[in-house]
Symmetry: C2
Subunit: 225 residues, 2 copies
DNA sequence: CCTACCGATCGGTAGG
DNA sequence: CCTACCGATCGGTAGG
């Protein structure tokens, strides 16, 4: 049937378009991560893709739209991951643990690194607002997870806002140093961070004997800095 | 005496020069932190200082030299702080604690934020190498502090490299969100981070009763992600 | 009229 | 320290 053939052809064409667009975004994210958003030129990006610069504009409207799409895909991935974990019936502490490790893996990917490394300041006001809102929602959901854990008694009393910031900060910073050549997988890094955050640096075994020292070390008493 | 007068005059002039140069660096650091290094133009910097752009070149050789000087002063400040703490005869855990809090304060200042937020990629190769070496030394010294703590028994066995990265990451990330308008001082943020890192998220009191759960939570057992 | 581009060049701005 | 500029390169777009 002619009509079906047309539809098929159009579908195939759209598929090709989307595949090429996705390749553009991935290559751009890598360039941004290597050189920084401002120092990565569209000429260079076109060169990497073996097309001319005007060709890029068939797939994107502007340079900052490229950045937005890269960061959007990263944050959507994080959003889906967190939603899936939240919808399970596990205790809050386990949900937090699962997300932290998955989040570490996502930050190690091209789009995840781009989200952390490239400034949102380059985005247009409208897109910048969207990104800020999406990130705020992620941050807020993690805070709530911690608050739930405190309520359940599985997490020690703390300031959920600051702890969330410390968690995201530790993981986000991996985007600056993590290299695939290293011996550690992103997952192993995430699990090591998780372990540190969960059990703390003060030895657990010594809890009974050096209780006073611990309290001091925890900053519960005055810290003579 | 004429000679003394000359010397005095020259000293005064040099003082004025250094003061103006320092003002230039501080204003530049603020501009870099607000807009990002690449988006902050020298025209804008000149406007902020109420001089013309060529005037800037009386005090600095290039735009990337401004960035280097800002970051250099930040890292020198951190270096001095760490050396002072290391030379004391306190236990390793306390040294680590003292540095973490002071470091948090330094990252909240203009040059400290500039060190964290502005990419070293904009620096000339020679200066970039100097900065990288200075930062690596700081990182290495903190790792050694942790290794000492483990040897002393005041710090639980862990991977010093990864824990150092988590510590620096959590604090460095404050440069992205910390605002002087907030209710928390940089010191309070540093102390809260310290508390989290030292005691961990798993409640201490429950140590005896839920020891098995804790082990699991600490990531010592398989984590079913 | 459409698509998937190309060679050439635009206006504006960067550091100097 | 300013006025007046430069060589180069930026993101983005013209006609075909």
């Amino acid at each position: 049937m002619k009509k079906a053939a047309w539809t098929e052809a159009l579908q195939k064409r759209d598929e090709q378009y989307q595949l090429k667009r996705q390749a553009l975004l991935q290559t751009a994210a890598r360039a941004f991560n290597e050189l920084g958003f401002d120092r990565a030129s569209l000429d260079d990006l076109a060169r990497r893709l073996n097309v001319t610069k005007p060709t890029l504009y068939y797939y994107i409207k502007s340079k900052d739209e490229i950045l937005f799409e890269c960061q959007k895909q990263a944050v959507e991935h994080m959003r889906l991951t967190l939603d899936q974990i939240r919808s399970s019936d596990k205790p809050a502490l386990e949900k937090l643990s699962l997300f932290l490790v998955r989040y570490t893996e996502l930050v190690a990917e091209d789009f995840g690194r781009c989200l952390v490394l490239s400034s949102h300041k380059a985005l247009q006001p409208k897109n910048r607002a969207k990104m800020a809102a999406a990130r705020r929602r992620l941050d807020n959901d993690v805070r709530n997870l911690i608050a739930q854990g405190i309520a359940e008694g599985s997490i020690a009393p703390c300031n959920p806002k600051l702890v969330t910031s410390a968690l995201f900060g530790a993981v986000n910073w991996t985007a600056h140093w993590y290299s695939r050549d290293g011996e550690l997988t992103p997952r192993a890094v995430g699990e090591a961070f998780l372990s540190t955050f969960l059990s703390g640096l003060v030895p657990r075994q010594a809890a009974q004997t050096v209780r006073k020292d611990q309290k001091q070390a925890r900053g519960e008493r005055a810290l003579r800095v």
